[in-house]
Assembly symmetry: C2
Homo-oligomer: 205 residues x 2
């Protein structure tokens, strides 16, 4: 490493890997956007959430969640096993603390795809976490996407839409807001946010 | 504009165009990197600096500077015509305030390619300005680049190198540091910084 590269590293590199949070209303397209993002920036590792939700046909352990019973989940909570957890649509979802800490202590940047409440909890525990809010272009488009995936009933769709409008009020507590009108653009903007944060001069004393 | 797009605009859009500053040691390759950057992001307008330096063969009015006599320059200073000005290597360089204000009031993002002292002056006048420091990979590479452009004498090269090492000490006062090892990478990182800043949620009260 040259003298200048050392100066750069000292100025921009945190002691451990960075922590990024991506939240957004149900149906906004987080998975699709993050798939494209990870292809562009494979060195950011996404944490797999632990959930008490029932496994659906086609799902398996770790895809998309690690599945626990409510009792197992409670034990993990009691053992401080979650960086954050929250109940969403009647099920619990948690971020395994150890997995995140291990990666970050190795200098790996970690991304959490979690709900807004979870994002705000992460922020209280790590002020350096960067919170990204993924936005749908409109209520109508969100409704169309929710209908297209055919996993919710009409009542559930109405609830999701109402919930989305409430979540939007948390944008001022986030660091970045990205519009998901075109998947590739949204993924490119999240990539830009990660690259920019890697160039950021750290002002910790 | 949909209701959600309005929410996004309110959260991320400042009242006027953003102000970006790119600084870095003489010979680091600012012009080359910014040429590639502007091709990728042509809606960011770069301000042309006013200078008292003598016009060199091949240069003309506005390329790369607007050329003024010291007397004309002093009059502009007296009339508060510069956002910042500084003496660099025995000549004065200034950023025309009116040009910058006009573009920004039209919502255009403006980029200033100015020296470190100028960058710090801009920061005192606009806390929202984003300061980007472009770094050479090493002293040796900087020396090689300075020699390659054949515009400086040996004595001047020695002075530039000493000056570079002093400027590097200002990195903690900058927001971002970008390594110019490969021009395309450095340009991509500056593009990422601008895109990320455009997604940033504004926390002004």
């Amino acid at each position: 490493m040259t003298q200048f590269e050392k100066v750069l590293k000292d100025a921009t590199q945190p002691k451990k890997g960075r922590l990024f949070v991506v939240s957004g209303p149900s149906g906004v397209g987080k998975d699709t956007v993050l798939d494209v993002f990870h292809q562009a920036l494979p060195d950011v590792q996404q944490c797999i959430t632990v959930s008490t939700r029932s496994m659906r046909p086609g799902e398996s352990e770790g895809h998309p969640y690690y599945f626990l019973t409510v009792d197992e989940f409670r034990q993990r909570v009691d053992n401080d096993g979650f960086l954050e957890y929250a109940m969403v649509n009647g099920n619990f979802y948690g971020t395994p603390r150890e997995w995140v800490e291990e990666r970050r202590s190795q200098g790996v940047d970690v991304l959490l795809k979690i709900d807004v409440q979870g994002g705000l909890t992460v922020r209280t525990k790590d002020r350096e976490a960067r919170l990204i809010f993924l936005m749908p272009p409109s209520v109508e488009e969100l409704e169309r996407r929710l209908r297209a995936r055919s996993t919710e009933t009409e009542d559930q769709i109405a609830i999701r839409l109402l919930d989305a409008r409430s979540e939007l009020q948390q944008i001022p507590n986030y660091d970045y807001a990205v519009l998901n009108d075109v998947v590739e653009n949204a993924a490119d903007q999240i990539r830009a946010i990660v690259l920019a944060e890697r160039c950021r001069v750290s002002h910790q004393e």
